[in-house]
Structure formats: C-alpha cells, structure tokens
C-alpha cells in the first residue's frame, strides 16, 4: 500500500484515542504508581504517557502472552477429550504509542513463529492487532536501534506511526491498510501535513550488526563468552523483557479432571532450559547460555529466519541487575 502522511493535532490525538477505546481494546503505556512504565488496557487518556523512553516490559505479550492456553482437556475414566481454544475470542487490540523498536519486533517474532510451520495463536493475535506507533523523541544510553538497522522513527511494524512535532502536534504516517481503516474511522481528525519539524531523538550507532553477524560465525569457541559472562547471574530478566525473545515452555495444569495445556515464556538463560532427563546438559554453564543468547539473535536468526533477533530497545541492559550491557558486548564482538 502506498503510505501517506497526515497531520493530527494535539487535541485530536485525545479524540482519536477516545474513539478507539470506545469500541476496542487499546493497549497504552502509563506511568504506574511505582514509576514503572507499563501498558494497560484502555487507561484514561490523561494517564497515557507520551514521554516515556521504554516501558519496563516490552509489548510482545499482545501477540505472545506470558501464558497462552493451547487447548483444554478433560480426563474422564474412559474418555479423554480435547477442547480447542476459540480463537475468534481473541480480541481486536490497538497498540497505542509503542516505539518503533517494539513495533519492529513484531516482524522479528513473526520470523520465528511463522517460519516453516505457522503458529496460529501468534498469527491470529498479530492479525487482530493494529499498531499506532510513536517515534522516539527521547532516548538514553541504552538505546541502540540504529546499530541494528532501525531508527527512532522506523516505520517497520507500525500501521500508523505518530511523530511528535515541535508545536506538540503529530505527523501520522499511515502505513498499512489496517492503519488506513483507523484513519478512515476518524477521518475528520486527520489533516494535511504541515511543514512543522519533527522531534526525533538521535541514537548514535554503536556497532554494525552485519559485522557482528559475520564475526560470530567463527566465534563459537572464543574466550570472549567466558570472560564476559562471569557476572551474569543467570536470571531470565533479559529474555522476559526482550521484545523479540520467543523461547517458550509447554506445560499442563490440571484441576480435578479438567485442565489445560499452555505455553509460557521461558529463557535460554536458565540452567535447566536444555537439561536432558539423563542429567546431561548441552549448555551447562552460564557462558554457554550467554553465547546462545547472542548467537541466536545475531547469527542463527539472520541465517535461519532472515531477520535479526534484536531491535535495539536496550531493555535487557537497563533491566539487567548486573549490567550485562548487550550493546557494549556487541561492540566488543565486532572487533574480536
């Protein structure tokens, strides 16, 4: 679809938001009581933040929830039956105000969930998702979108991308048919573009991901991994806050004769992630697991999924309790 750019006034943004929340689930960022940025469904417009750098958690849960029920079952004496999930109950969601890195991550996730065999849960959720992104006018030292081929105003993954203008109004880039539908539903709010300057933050490029990828192909045995993962304590924080990490576990939970099988987030950083029943563990120590994390994102995924497993949001680094700074490590890696 041909993309178009329109103007939406500051006050119209509120109208658009309210129009959307009146008939849809709108998932928008707010500043919680403990100062954490979190996404909530249909918060009042006054609560919605436009000035955040990054939410604590990514928004991947709209397409890859913490827990996704795969089916329900009943175990009776003679008969076990399976009841499918009614996918039509998956709600239409508008993701509001998510930054370009988060939105680009949907493509990355798609490259995992839909390569080879298509994952219907993910696809359906993505299908029912419309993304009204917001370019970044703020950034911090953890941001490195420009190093992974993105930018503070990348359009990838957004249906509409808003960009703040100096006067407080927004440019709206209408990028997809879905975006167009939204615009059409509130056509009067969108005006023709002005020549007001956009406020886009500058994110310095720290490394070249192509170079990292090429270096990694021969870096499996490099001492780098041990040296640089000593302080990693092996929690799953980086994976769980990451917008593109898609590792999951499949478990059953039963109450009485009824139960469900679900998939839930998992992390390659956990020691037991790859543990065999025999006790053998192919990735026994943390350095091997840290290597897996980086390799997966910057070497295996480019080769197997034709996408980079990182969008440069910096959450893993800002959320890491021991400052395992991924950008710093990648910068070092491109020079090994």
């Amino acid at each position: 679809m041909e993309t178009t750019r329109k103007l939406i006034r500051k006050q119209s943004v509120e109208k658009l938001y309210n129009a959307l929340t009146s008939n849809r689930q709108v998932y928008a960022p707010v500043v919680a009581a403990d100062k954490q940025i979190e996404y909530r469904y249909n918060p009042g417009f006054a609560e919605v933040t436009f000035g955040h750098i990054r939410s604590t958690l990514s928004v991947k849960n709209v397409v890859f929830p913490k827990v996704e029920n795969l089916f329900f079952y009943t175990n009776a004496r003679s008969e076990s039956t399976i009841t499918d999930i009614d996918m039509s109950r998956i709600p239409e969601v508008v993701l509001w105000g998510a930054h370009p890195c988060d939105n680009a991550a949907f493509d990355t996730l798609r490259s995992i969930f839909c390569w080879d065999i298509k994952d219907e849960f993910f696809s359906k959720r993505l299908e029912k998702l419309a993304v009204i992104g917001l370019s970044c006018h703020l950034s911090d030292e953890y941001c490195f979108c420009t190093s992974v081929g993105l930018s503070p105003d990348s359009k990838k993954g957004s249906d509409i991308l808003l960009s703040l203008l100096k006067n407080g109004d927004y440019h709206a880039d209408i990028l997809t048919e879905k975006g167009n539908e939204i615009v059409k539903s509130a056509a009067d709010l969108f005006e023709t573009v002005s020549d007001e300057k956009e406020v886009i933050t500058e994110v310095k490029q720290k490394f070249s991901h192509e170079q990292v990828t090429s270096k990694l192909s021969a870096a499996f045995e490099h001492p780098f991994w041990v040296e640089n993962s000593l302080r990693c304590i092996g929690c799953g924080a980086c994976a769980y806050v990451c917008p593109t990490c898609a590792c999951f576990d499949i478990q059953d939970e039963t109450r009485g004769k009824n139960g469900k099988r679900y998939r839930s987030w998992d992390s390659c950083g956990f020691g037991l992630f790859t543990l065999h029943t025999s006790g053998h563990n192919p990735r026994e120590v943390q350095s091997q697991r840290w290597r897996q994390r980086i390799m997966h994102k910057f070497s295996y995924m480019p080769e197997r999924n034709e996408s980079l497993g990182c969008v440069g949001c910096g959450r893993c680094s800002s959320g890491c309790p021991v400052d395992m700074n991924i950008a710093e490590q990648l910068e070092a890696l491109q020079n090994i």
């Binding site: 175990n75 009776a76 004496r77 109450r255 009485g256 004769k257 025999s278 006790g279 053998h280 026994e284």
Partner: protein
C-alpha cells in the same frame, strides 16, 4: 499400568450403618484406574482376606485400598494379605472409614460422600506407592559397655550371659564405680562391697567380657549394628601380664602424699597405686602426674623392687579399633561437693562433708576403719547434722530436679551413725521425705522411731564455725517456721547428684542427646526410657539421672535385653519407610546441594555425607545420604529440604501432594 482394587468393608454394621457402602463401592469403581471395587461385611475375616488375595490375582492389581477401620488397627493384617496374594505389601493402603467417618458422623449423604473422598484420596496415593523391600542391616554381635559401675557391670554380665561378646570400657583403673565406695546399702544395710565384689570378679573372669580399665572412648562412628569405635587405653606404665599384683611397688613408692580419690580425699595414696584393695583388675597403675620419675626424671623405685620386672615407663597410650554392634552407656554420676555451697562455708570447714565422704568414714575399709571421726581432729562427733536436698530441688542453684537417692542415704547415714555412736545425736534437716520404694519408707521410719534420729522439716540457711563447733541455723516449718539452731560437731550434706564431668563430651562423641543438666536423654520418657535417640545406644544407671542401686540394676538389665534382642538375629530388619536423598547421573550426582541443614533437624543422626570423587580422588561434590539403618522416617528433613532432594518412602512429596489434590477436587 495402575490397576487399583478397592475393598469396602462394612465392619459388620459399624461402617454400613452410616455409610452407604454399596454406593461407595459403585462410585469408586467408576474412577480412572480402579480396576476392581467391591464391598464385604468383614474384610479382616478370612473370607474377606481371601477376597482381596483372589482379586489381586484375577485383576492383576497393582495397588489395593482397603476401606475399613484405622490403619493403626489393621494395616499389618491387610499388608500381609496382599503379600500372600502376590502383591508387594507396601502397595496396600487403608482408607479409614470407621474411626474417621462412620463412627463420628450421622447417617446422611455427606457422610457417604466423605467416605468416597477418603477412599479416592487413598486411591490417588496408592497409585504412587512404590514396591518396597524391608531394609536389612547387618549386626556385629559385640556390645560395648561404657562405665564399669554397678549398672555397667550388671548390663555386661547380662549380655555376656546371653552368649554375646561385651567390651567394657572403664575410665578409672578399676571397675566398681561409686557402689564400691559405699559402706552399707539401704534399705537392708548389707555391706556394699560384699555384694558388689563378686560381680566385679565375675566381669573380670567372664569369657565373653573383655575389660579395658584406665581406658576411654576416643570416637564413635557408624550406626546401629555397625559402630566403629576407637578406644584409648591409657598407659598404666605396667606390663599387666607380667604383674602379679603383689603390691610391693605400692608399698615402696616414696611418693605417698597424694589425696586418694577413692577415699574422697580423706586418705592418701602413693603414685603407683591400686585404687582400693578389692580393685578389679587388681593391678597398679602409675599416676604420671604425681610420679617422681615422670616429674623429675629419676626415682624408678618401683621398677627396682618389682620382682617380675613389670614396670614400663615408656609405655605409650594404645588406640584400639573395635567393631561394635550396640552400646550401653553407664557412665554414672557425680555429686556436688561441699565447695558448691557458700552458705555452708564453701568447703572450708573440714567437718562439713558430703555424703560420699561419710560413706568412706562409715566403711570398714575406709580411712578410719569404719569409725565415725571428725576429719578435723579425729574426735567422735557427739552431735551430727545431716542436711538433705543440698543443692537439689533448688532452681536458684540451677538444679531444679530431685536427686532421688539422698532421702534414703541420709536416713541410712543417720542410722549408721547412731549404730556406731550410741550416745550421739543425729539431726536431719529435710524438705520432704521421698521414700518411695520397696521397704524404703519403713527404713526411714526405723531411723526416726527406733534410732531416734531427729528429723526437722526445714531448710538450713547457714552453717558457721564458733569455738570449734559448727553452728547450724535453720527453721522448723512444722513448728511454724521457728528458728532452730544446733551446735554440731559435724555436718553431712546430701549434695545433689549431677552428671559426670565429661558426659557432654561423650554424648557428642556418641551423637546421643543430653538434657540441660548434661544427663543423657532417653528416646522417650515413658516408653523408651532405656533407648537413646540413636538406635543401638542404650542407657543404664545414673548417667541418665540420679538413681539408686536397684533402679540402676533394673535399667541395666533392661538395656542388656535390648542389646540381646538386637543380637538375637543375624541382621536387623526394618520397615523401609525411610527417607532418601535422590541420585542422578553425573555430573550432577544428586540435586542435593550439600547444605546439610537436614543434619541438624534429624533426631537420629541418620544423615551422612557422601563424596563423589574424580578418578584421582578429588572431591567433585558432597551430598547428603540417608543411613537406612538409622532413619526412623519422621520426614522432618523432607519438609526442610529446599531443593526437594530428600523424599520419604510411604509419604513421598508426590503422594501427599496427590492426596491434597484428590481430596479437594472432583474427579
């Protein structure tokens, strides 16, 4: 392939009166994995048991739930029946429909539903039961008796007479203990030595008893049936085989001014000595602390005079390694000495003595040849005061308990005194007279009524010296707390019996618990008074708490029976409901991380360490391991273990979890 059989018992009408057994059996029969469900009037009857056995075979049952009375009643019955039916007995569980349901609830829907719930819970549990085999522990049929007092002697002789080997370890140079120091014994006033010494000789001569005197337990490892004990045989500086016990050395020893322990310091002995004339073994030892040769490097008079050249100055201590199957601890007690009592002069008045010292004075073989004479001037005391409960029952002194023997021996002392000093006056201050025991109270009455001992109920506040006399100030509570003052020539304190010095250290070596007074602790105050918490270690005599001779002897015989029972079979068979620490393939070996907090919760010292090593002996990992011989299956370690690496057969995590889930959910 779980195939569970459920057998619902009517117990006559005991269950069926309030529980609809037919409905229960029906409903349960519809549960997943229940292959067979039936009801019967009396499951425990022969036909009932046959029903179970037949069903096991016919339906290839992998588990059985007998829904009847309390498992505390008939679990063994039904487990046996299952075994006879070809099912491992530990794959049988009972659902308690009678005591916990039919007898305690009215007849209604809810009661029947509860019965179903109870059974369903057991069905879920039994699915997870494991086929267990009884644990067999080999037993070394040699026992060790620590302490050669009357309790130890009795235990040793009883065990030896059952045909089992006994090693007796005695710390001092002779066996005999406190009883050998006593003059006469209550309530019969027969001579202590006369009844004791034949027993001592019997010990020495018994073919099944090996006696190590002047020896101490160095360390104890292992567990019931399989203790590994190290004994330190202290050097006696003597070749015991060469020595004939002629006694020449002891008479020639130039060092003769050493306070005699046996005489409670009221006599002297040489540096090479036999503790008392009837000592067993009757061989001297050299007291290295006081021997001139050991102190100054020259003397050797004993060596010169010894006709058989038996003296060995360079003899080292010897460490013996013994394999022991059971241990009797009979290390006895000690008493508080007069110096513990500031109010009675901290022991500075020579004529304030303790009970044991009085025993020596009254003993025909004692320092005064049986004459009651004042230690200070050798005069016969005309007025003598006995103070009972000196220290005992006095929380302020840290001794809240009753020493149990003092009432009786004080009566005996007063009586002995009156028998020897007819014109003298004997006064006894007491709190209560505790004379429970065969012929005991009669004995005390005799002291009061026939020997005119003056019993004053009240406590003595102070004793002080005035003009060579001891002024005893007290009150007579029977006369309205009237002050009493007695001018005495001698005061005898019935001081509290306390744990032996070293008891705590020994308890720690043995891994048995001890109470706050350092007395050894029995496994159960009522039902296991002879056992300790550590299987295979038993108690006899006053090391547990102060006891008189008959009590000590009874307990010793009790301990001996426990040992003999243990030795009566080739091995020990135990219910396999014990804890275990999981094992996994290398390199993990176990999910146990080796924090060993479980060791401190285990009341039985059943948790040991297991090292996993590389081929060249480097320790890779140390994890906990349960000694099946010791574990009693309480499961406290299981609930404590953070990594859930310990589990308990019969009450596994999986089982109890399944029970909770089954009890609360519809199936």
């Amino acid at each position: 392939m779980a195939r569970i059989g459920v057998f619902v018992c009517h117990c006559g009408e005991n269950i069926s009166a309030t529980v609809d057994c037919g409905k229960v059996a029906d409903t349960i029969g519809k549960l997943k994995h229940v292959a067979y469900s039936t009801e019967y009037k009396y499951m425990c009857s022969d036909p009932g048991q046959t029903l179970i056995k037949d069903a096991i075979r016919e339906h290839k049952l992998t588990g059985v739930v007998v829904s009847a009375c309390s498992p505390r009643m008939h679990e063994p019955t039904f487990r046996k029946a299952c075994a006879e039916g070809g099912l491992n007995p530990f794959l049988c569980e009972m659902a308690n429909l009678r005591e916990h349901c039919s007898w305690v609830h009215e007849k209604n829907e809810l009661t029947t539903e509860k019965a179903i719930d109870i059974i369903r819970t057991q069905v879920e549990k039994v699915k997870l039961n494991s086929a267990l085999q009884p644990i067999r522990v080999p037993v070394t049929k040699t026992s060790m008796v620590i302490g050669g007092g009357i309790a130890g002697i009795q235990a040793a002789l009883d065990i030896a007479n059952c045909g089992h080997k006994v090693v007796m370890v005695e710390r001092s140079p002779s066996i005999g203990g406190h009883m050998s120091q006593l003059s006469e014994t209550f309530p019969t006033l027969d001579c202590s030595q006369c009844i004791l010494t034949p027993r001592m000789v019997e010990v020495a001569q018994h073919p099944n008893i090996t006696l190590y005197t002047y020896a101490e337990v160095e360390s104890v490892e292992g567990f019931i049936g399989n203790f590994k004990v190290k004994i330190r045989k202290k050097a006696k500086s003597l070749d015991e085989k060469a020595c004939t016990g002629c006694g020449l050395c002891t008479t020639k020893c130039p060092q003769k001014k050493i306070p005699n322990e046996f005489e409670q310091g009221m006599g002297m002995r040489p540096a090479i000595y036999v503790p008392f004339p009837q000592a067993v073994p009757n061989r001297p030892v050299i007291d290295k602390e006081h021997c001139t040769y050991y102190i100054k490097g020259k003397c050797k008079v004993c060596e010169i005079v010894c006709p058989t050249k038996a003296i060995r100055f360079d003899q080292p201590d010897e460490i013996l390694d013994l394999e022991i199957g059971a241990i009797v601890v009979s290390t006895g007690f000690d008493i508080k000495h007069a110096d513990f009592f500031p109010e009675y002069g901290y022991g500075k008045y020579k004529d304030v003595i303790d009970g044991l010292q009085f025993e020596r004075l009254a003993s025909a073989s004692g320092p005064t040849a049986g004459a009651i004479l004042r230690p200070s001037d050798g005069q016969v005391p005309k007025n003598i005061v006995f103070i009972a409960c000196a220290g005992s029952r006095d929380p302020a002194k840290g001794i809240a308990y009753c020493s149990k023997i003092c009432c009786m021996y004080t009566a005996k002392h007063a009586m002995l005194y009156k028998h020897k000093v007819h014109e003298g006056n004997a006064h006894v201050f007491y709190m209560d007279i505790r004379s429970g025991g065969k012929n005991y109270d009669e004995f005390v009455r005799r002291a009061i009524e026939e020997d005119y001992v003056n019993y004053i109920r009240g406590r003595v506040s102070t004793v002080y010296e005035r003009d060579g006399k001891l002024i005893v100030k007290g009150v007579d509570t029977l006369l309205g707390a009237q002050p009493v003052e007695i001018v005495a020539d001698m005061v005898v304190l019935a001081t509290a019996g306390v744990a032996n010095p070293g008891a705590e250290e020994l308890a720690q070596k043995l891994h048995v618990s001890y109470d706050s007074h350092k007395f050894f602790a029995e496994a159960h105050p009522k039902l296991k008074p002879v056992e300790t918490n550590t299987a295979g270690i038993f108690l006899a005599g006053a090391c547990q708490n102060p006891k008189d001779i008959p009590d000590s002897v009874s307990q010793a015989s009790g301990a001996a029976v426990k040992v003999a029972a243990l030795f009566s079979q080739n091995g020990l068979t135990r219910e396999p409901l014990v804890a275990f620490v999981n094992r996994t393939a290398p390199p993990m070996y176990s999910t146990c991380v080796g924090c060993f907090l479980c060791q401190s919760v285990c009341p039985y010292q059943a948790i040991e360490r297991e090292d996993f090593k590389t081929r060249d002996g480097k320790i890779i990992k140390t994890v906990a391991k349960i000694n099946e011989g010791l574990c009693q299956g309480c499961g406290t370690c299981v609930a404590l273990c953070r990594s859930k690496s310990i589990d308990l057969y019969g009450y596994s995590n999986n089982q109890v979890y399944a029970e909770v889930v089954a009890l609360l959910n519809e199936f």
